[in-house]
Structure formats: structure tokens, C-alpha cells
Symmetry: C2
Subunit: 340 residues, 2 copies
């Protein structure tokens, strides 16, 4: 790799979003006198009677969770998107708005309140993967739903209000901003080269000096993308183009679960804490269109930078200018690889 | 206004960035069981001997601050961008990077450690405005600098590591992402209509039912834009198109300072706390090009949602999909207006 990238400020191009990230490698020497996050390494019980996600407990809506044993899915009691709201449009000069309908669900990954994905075994995570597949398929089959966003907020610092292992699905009647960007770039590349943009990138990484690769198995790569924004941001992607998570074989679903297990475990080791992050899957829209250009992938955006208590703040310059990072993708990958 | 916008989920279009925001008005009823922020309403002394921004104190670099009495500007000791780094380009298949040089400065707003902009008087804020003008002009005159980003991170929750009233300037050799987006939309509109996109929007707001307007004086409007993302996000903009802050008359600089004063004071009143935010000025690039389409404006992105301790988390769905808000721009404007 060009040695300049290790020492001098530069910007890197995100081929999927078409946007830039500013990298300031020398800046990690800056002392930190700002806010520290609370660490919560408290051991949780396997069952918590005050947890509204534990099996058998009553939620705020009055609904009672069944005594589930694997994963458990229900419609979000405070859904940001609803399926029964009226359709309308505001087109008043420079004020433009449109109704947005959708379905929001919560997915409990396990009845065990004490565990996170990092603590679950591969068969347990495989069950989560299969639940994502089932939901993506079912919700996506709804004519009113054009996109199904699967994500997880983990840790209080990521706005997660309940430590019980769970993720969410917000699905809606149009394409979200970030998905739109990736749709455009992948479509243009596929039209031009008849080949997957992300697939070609992964090939280049796998056949290069591999300095951003954390782990691979037969079907998946785990790596820090060249254009990563968050300090230890990582991506899990199938080596060969698959439009959505429905394209996985049984065996591949297990290999995907293995990749999730490896990454989340190494994250927890890094700062010896239950590592917070938001993760999300970007994949083909369910709009009935031609989505052959889509190569699905899962990204992890963890906020921690230096320790269990010091996070990266995406604030002033980042909000008004460009996301900025203080350590390189290569340095971050090295540190995670060393913990494998 | 269309009453649907008060009750049902919808998306609104940001005419300046070309992106959407998802609004879920019914969702503010959701109970909050997640992370609470620390409130820091501690009275600070006017001088703190351990503060590296106070007059007469020594910074980590060994430099000693002068006994300044108004504003004080110096080059950031841990600059994310440096002016003397080499020029290089990486163009290796799907890996694309470019060197980025720049100048980063810190601006102390006042020697008084105990004050924020909200506590300063209008003549004091006018001095800050004049300092911004001087820096934008001087830094922008440098051929290597194409954009001068002025911003402030206020409060520990916004990654601010020192409560001494101060802001920053990061200037660089290319246009940041957010500036690029606004450059494109304004240029297209100006080419088409020979008129300012933001100016026409402000006219529509001023001549409409004014439900998003918080304050106006002869030269400036303070409002919550129709497409605001953060709960109490606000914008200050000159009513008539000005490309940059250099276009203000002496009198207008004072009126701008008044607008900043009114907004920051009302923010502090809202939750009875020193209100955290990141603010930033978007204005004409200093690239020597034709920037007649630019209409400068200052935006405030405050994270608090419900109280001094409960903020809005821009996490999972927001990172992977679209920014989402729980209260409407109109409701937020009403609450701020009621405190004037
Ligand atoms: O420059 P500071 O105050 O040290 O740092 C703060 O502002 C910067 C610019 O928005 C951010 O990149 C940092 O994450 C934040 O902590
Ligand atoms: O849905 P939850 O867990 O109540 O809420 C959390 O995730 C949402 C989706 O990313 C965010 O909009 C909220 O700000 C966050 O607190």
C-alpha cells in the first residue's frame, strides 16, 4: 500500500455510497479530556422479570411474550412506521413531503437475557440468520413494502434501551437514503461491467496484500473496508454476488453465522467489554424491480475509539463536512486480526 | 398545513441536500428506558488555571495563550488537516484516495471561562462574527484552500472536551461531502430560476402561516426548516441571498449576532440547561469559482429530545436508512417560540 496513507491526511472514496471519508492518521496522538462512556460489564441474569423481552413477560402494550425457546419476533409496540396510515403527498412550492407506511418488528435473538451474539454459539446465530431470512421474505412479499431494513443497536451508547439480545426490522414503502445511494452506484457499475461492484472490490482485497481482511471462510469475508468511517467499522459479505440473504444455501447460512460469531467475539476482546455497535444488512429492495446489481452485505458501526470508555464523536466537522477518522482501516484491521 | 403531517409517518425532502428525513409524529409517546446523559449545570469560574484555552495559560504544545480580552484564534495543536503534507493520489482499481491538506484553527469566543454564546451580550457575539469573517477571508485567500468550515461543538455530549467558549475552523483543499451536496442543488436551482433556492424557501416560510419561524429581525430569519433532522434543529439565514458571511454590512453583523443570541438563549431555557449542539456555517467555497448560487446559512444540530438528560440517538435505522425524528418541525418551533 502507498505508505503516504499511513502518515498523512487524505480522503478515501466509498465506492458504494459515492461519498468520501477524511482520514487523519497522525491525529490519534491527541490526548482525550472529553466525555467518557460508562462501562457496563455487569453480569446479567439469564432471566430478568423486569425485562419486557424475556420469555413469559408482559410488554407495555399488555401483550404477553410466549415462553419462546429460540428467536421470537413481534411487531414493535412503538413502531416508527405503521401499515394502516393514509396515503398523502404535500407538494407546496419548496415544501415537499410524502406519506410513508411500513412495518416495524423486534427480533429477540435468544430467550437468554444474559447473552449477546458474541456469547451465542454458531447454531444459535444460525437460527437468527434464518429468522432474518423468513422476515425479509414475508415482509418483502407485501406489495406496499419496497425495502426491509434489518439492524441491531447494541449497547446503551448506541441508544439501545434494553440489554436483552435483540435486533429490529423497519420496512417501508420507499427506499431509504443510504440504500438509494448504494442502489445507484451498484446499478451503474453492473450495467457497465456486467459484474458486481462489491464482488470485484472483495476480489481485489482477497488477492492483494490482505491488510484489511480480518477473517474469511469458504463463503464469506470479514474486512474493514478501505473507506470505513467508524474506528473499527467492519463488513461481512459473501465472496460471490448474492442479491439478498435469501440466496444463501443452508451451509452458507452457517458460514455467515460463523463470520458474525468471529467478528463479535473479537470486538468484545478488543477493549475487554461488551462492544457496542449498530449493525445493519443492506440488500436488494423488495420493490419487484430488477435487482441483479445488488450484492448484499452486513456492516458494523461501533463507536469506541481508544478504550471501553472513549468513543469517537461524529459531531461538528463530521455533520457539516465529511466523516473523519483518526486511525487507518489497515491499523484497525491489524489490531482485530491480532486478537483472533 | 396539511393536518396529516401532524399525525402520520411521512418523509420530508431536504431541498438543500437532496435527501429525505423520516418523521414519525406519533412516536414521541414511546417511554424511554435507555441511556440518560449527565447534566452539567455546575457554575464555572471566569478563569480556570487548568483550562488550556484561558488567557495566559500554557497549552499542551508549550505555547502560552496571550492575555487576550476579546476573541483569540490559534492553529489547532492536534490538527486533523495540515498544510505541509505531501500531495499524492491512490488510484488502484477500486481503492481510491487523495491527499487532503488544510488549516485547522481554534477560536476562543471570550476570555471568560464561565460563559457560552447564550450568556454573552450582542456586542460580544458581534466580535465573534467579525472573527469568523476575518478568518474566512484570510484562510480562503490561500490558493490551496477550497473550503473553510466554521463550526462549534458545544457540550460534553457533542464531543466537546473543554467547556471554555470556543469554536473551530477546519479548512481544506476540496469540498466536504455535505457542502458538495448543497453546492449541486443550489447551482441547479440558480441556473434554472436565476434566484436563490434558500432565499425562495425563506420567502415561502415568511409569507406563509409562519409555523416554523422562531424569530426574525430586519436581515435574518431563525427557523426550524421543514426538513429538520434533529429534534430542535434550527437555521439562521439572511433573508436576501448573500454568498458568504463577508457580504454582511456592519449593521447586519450585529443583527446576525442578535439572531444567535436569541436562539441560544431560548435553547438554554427549553430544558433549563446549557443546551448542547453542534453548529456550523455553510457558505460559498473559496475555490475561486462562480459561487453566485450560494446563500449562506448557519445550522444548529442539538441532540436533546425530551429533557436535559434524554437525547435522540441517530443509530441503527438512521445510519443504515434515513434520519428519523419523533416530533414535528412545527411542534418544535412552537415550543421554542413560546419561550421567547
Ligand atoms: O477537535 P476536538 O474538539 O478535539 O474533537 C471534536 O471535534 C472534532 C470535529 O468535529 C471531532 O472529529 C472529534 O471527534 C470531536 O471529539
Ligand atoms: O427503537 P428503539 O430501540 O426504541 O430506539 C433506538 O433505535 C431507533 C432506530 O435506530 C432510533 O430511532 C432511536 O433513536 C433509538 O433510541
Amino acid at each position: 500500500m502507498d505508505k503516504h496513507l499511513e502518515d498523512y491526511s487524505h480522503k478515501r472514496f466509498n465506492i458504494l455510497t459515492g461519498e468520501w471519508v477524511l482520514v487523519s492518521p497522525h491525529r490519534s496522538k491527541r490526548p482525550w479530556q472529553g466525555q467518557n462512556e460508562a462501562v457496563n460489564n455487569e453480569k446479567r441474569p439469564e432471566y430478568d422479570e423486569s425485562c419486557y423481552l424475556c420469555a413469559g413477560n408482559t410488554r407495555i402494550s399488555g401483550d404477553v411474550n410466549p415462553k419462546y425457546t429460540g428467536t421470537y419476533v413481534f411487531t414493535n409496540d412503538f413502531a416508527a412506521l405503521q401499515s394502516d396510515s393514509p396515503s398523502f403527498k404535500v407538494n407546496d412550492g419548496l415544501l415537499q413531503a410524502e406519506s410513508e407506511t411500513g412495518i416495524c418488528k423486534v427480533i429477540c435473538f435468544s430467550p437468554d437475557h444474559s447473552k449477546s451474539l458474541a456469547d451465542m454459539d454458531v447454531p444459535g446465530i444460525t437460527q437468527v440468520v434464518k429468522t432474518w431470512q423468513k422476515e425479509y421474505k414475508e415482509i418483502g412479499a407485501n406489495d406496499a413494502i419496497k425495502y426491509v431494513q434489518i439492524f441491531e443497536n447494541k449497547g446503551a451508547v448506541m441508544g439501545c434501551s434494553n440489554p436483552h439480545p435483540h435486533g429490529q426490522i423497519w420496512s417501508q414503502s420507499s427506499l431509504p437514503n443510504e440504500v438509494s445511494k448504494k442502489d445507484t452506484t451498484q446499478k451503474a457499475y453492473f450495467a457497465d461491467k456486467k459484474s458486481s461492484l462489491l464482488g470485484d472490490y472483495l476480489k481485489q482485497e482477497l488477492n492483494g496484500d490482505r491488510e484489511r481482511i480480518i477473517f474469511e471462510n469458504d463463503a464469506f469475508v470479514v474486512l474493514i473496508p478501505f473507506w470505513a468511517v467508524w474506528p473499527f467499522e467492519a463488513m461481512i459479505a459473501p465472496k460471490n454476488k448474492q442479491n439478498s440473504i435469501l440466496d444463501m444455501t443452508e451451509k452458507e447460512a452457517e458460514l455467515y453465522a460463523e463470520a458474525i460469531s468471529v467478528l463479535t467475539k473479537v470486538y468484545d476482546k478488543l477493549f475487554n467489554t461488551s462492544f457496542p455497535y449498530s449493525s445493519g444488512i443492506h440488500q436488494a429492495p423488495t420493490d419487484g424491480g430488477d435487482n441483479a446489481h445488488w450484492h448484499w452485505h452486513m456492516s458494523f458501526y461501533p463507536p469506541l475509539l481508544r478504550s471501553a470508555t472513549v468513543k469517537k464523536f461524529m459531531v461538528g466537522y463530521e455533520m457539516f463536512g465529511t466523516p473523519q477518522r483518526d486511525i487507518t482501516a489497515e491499523g484497525a484491521a491489524q489490531r482485530l486480526r491480532d486478537l483472533l
